[in-house]
Symmetry: C2
Subunit: 343 residues, 2 copies
DNA sequence: CATTAGCACTCGCGCGTTAAGAGTGCTAAC
DNA sequence: GTTAGCACTCTTAACGCGCGAGTGCTAATG
């Protein structure tokens, strides 16, 4: 177990390193006015902390920097919550300023988050598990083209143009839409593909000529899986960080960010609450020098989305954790009201 | 006027520099097997070309690199068209593979373009001058929320959620929509805002109670200016270029790319055909070390969009120009068919 | 006995020097 | 007009050196 003094020193070192990005030496620590020990004492403690794995040296006679284990301990035990009145106010203003589109608020949140932190923010849109189908429409544009529009009870609109094969005649199309609206109204959109296969298909066979050909079309138009969307803010903020003075690192960062599905899968696994993964704790090689902090937010009554911040392991954990908590609360609150307003 | 030999040497130097990014020396040139002169002769010619402003030295005893004037001459007089059968085939495959959404083909084109060149591609969506309103719909979601949907004859869909003030009753809303559809069907969407102000407003005053309040809503929902959209591909490709070994340059590049409106205005001015602006010929300071090549494409019968490539002044002009010509043709062809299919 | 002052020692960093290499410009010969 | 030769210039990488920051250890101190 660490002594009080060791905790103090560990904390001071990490705080200082987070701020300056330079290895911190014993003399600098002893000068801080909340540290009443001499440099020599601190050197001894630092040696111990290094043996225990909380600190590292960059070379044999350098100051110390936190190890990943050090950061881990810091995050788990040494962080006092911080008040971010101003930042939370900013968030509140932006989020609650009467919005009507889900995408909009999520994108804004991502941007504000990266703005306030100078790290890269990633938000995973909520899975729209419980939004329900409000209406399906097909609008014919010419003899052989049409656009299909699908509206959910939350005002989410999806649309897709398609060409109408000559074999399908307009009245059939209309019939189909009627059937679909009749049967699928109020069904959670997540269940649409399944419903379509089981209930609708057989029904439509009865009413329509040439059913087979239409089937594939409809399926493709309305019921393809829609991948979860990723909102990213401040991709170039990471360039501000001094650890990114190396072009090779920048390159690998950007190529990593292009793999949206990998990133999405990283975020998805996160359960409720705040989760911090530091350096090698991350499963994906490409972010083994990064820290990832995730928090979840709720849409209505149960559908989760994830907010995350990606930055160097030398991250302002204290600020970032508080901020993420704040944002996730604000988002949950705002989205609750929003969601309810559609009931 | 330049002599034959000077032209040859200028060309060889630029070709070589474009390929290697290293200053090229007299000995290297004399070794090429289409150059039958000794290094000394070439040195003399190079000195003359430098006096004329076509070449530069990086330091007093270095090889030569092209000046901007050199590139300009190269682009205007020394580029032989190149055959890009393979690349054009790739483009064809991607573009013509039956698409139905405009955005889709434009985005794909941007991506393919940057993929094939390793530069950053920027495509300005066509101004939808002539697409016409097909249908307006308002779908109410709850007592006080609704989503408005606007469909054009080309299958383009815009939507916007809004809250319905208590003062407006549903039947009024319906009436409005009827009026709008009646009066605005077939009107080019570019003219909608104007039409709304002049014709519709007065008409609606007669039919509706409480017109004033609704007016602003409708205006905001349907008739706000929609900015021209920018499609960007391969933002991180630029990192591959050796001139980007400097973090400061990368930073300034990315901050430049964030100013979408400036970039859009740069592209807009381009008239028909291919246009190459090299280094300081660009009006915006931020891209004074870049070259920008733009080509235009047509949607249907007259609406122009712009395709552009942004790269270092040391660009593969020959390839890029041919490619851009090819792509602009393919896009125009494909979009012509697409556009016609909606008539 | 924990703490601290003192000191030798270790590295990294910046700097000037040096040598190699690439390339030029000029002159003189072909 | 063309080219070979050569002195000269400048970049780059390598090397050595001294400085400063920082450490680890020892011995003195309260």
């Amino acid at each position: 177990m660490l002594t009080e003094r060791q905790l103090l020193i560990l904390q001071v070192i990490i705080d200082d390193f987070i701020e300056t990005a330079h290895p911190v030496g014993s003399r600098a620590i002893s000068k801080k006015n909340n540290v009443p020990y001499s440099a020599a004492t601190i050197r001894n403690e630092m040696a111990d902390l290094e043996d225990l794995g909380y600190l590292e040296k960059t070379h044999s006679s350098s100051g110390r920097i936190p190890s990943e284990k050090g950061y881990r301990y810091y995050v788990d035990h040494l962080i006092a919550p911080i008040s971010l009145k101003n930042d939370v106010k900013i968030i509140k203003n932006i989020i609650q300023d009467g919005f009507f589109e889900l995408e909009q608020v999520v994108q804004m949140s991502a941007e504000v988050l990266s703005e306030l932190t100078n790290y890269t923010s990633i938000i995973l849109g909520p899975e729209l598990l419980e939004t329900k189908l409000k209406q399906i429409q097909i609008i014919t544009l010419s003899d052989h083209t049409a656009v299909a529009i699908l509206v959910t009870n939350t005002g989410h609109v999806e649309h897709r143009s398609f060409s109408v094969p000559a074999e399908i005649n307009p009245s059939d199309l209309e019939k189909m839409v009627n059937i679909l609206n009749d049967r699928l109204f109020g069904v959670p959109i997540i269940r649409l593909p399944e419903m379509f296969k089981t209930e609708i298909a057989s029904l439509m066979k009865q009413y329509m000529n040439d059913f087979e050909k239409s089937y594939d079309y409809l399926q493709a138009v309305f019921f393809s899986e829609n991948p979860v969307k990723l909102y990213v803010g401040g991709k170039s903020n990471i360039l501000m960080q001094p650890e990114f003075n190396d072009v090779e690192k920048i390159r690998s960062f950007y190529s990593m960010m292009e793999k949206e599905d990998e990133i999405a899968s990283l975020l998805k696994s996160s359960d409720n609450g705040i989760k911090v993964t530091i350096g090698h704790e991350n499963e994906i090689d490409a972010i083994k020098d990064f820290s990832l902090i995730t928090a979840s937010y709720q849409l209505g009554e149960g559908q989760l989305g994830t907010i995350a911040l990606l930055g160097p392991t030398r991250m302002e954990y204290r600020k970032v954790i508080s901020l993420l908590k704040g944002l996730s609360n604000e988002m949950t609150d705002a989205l609750y009201l929003w969601y309810k307003s559609y009931e």
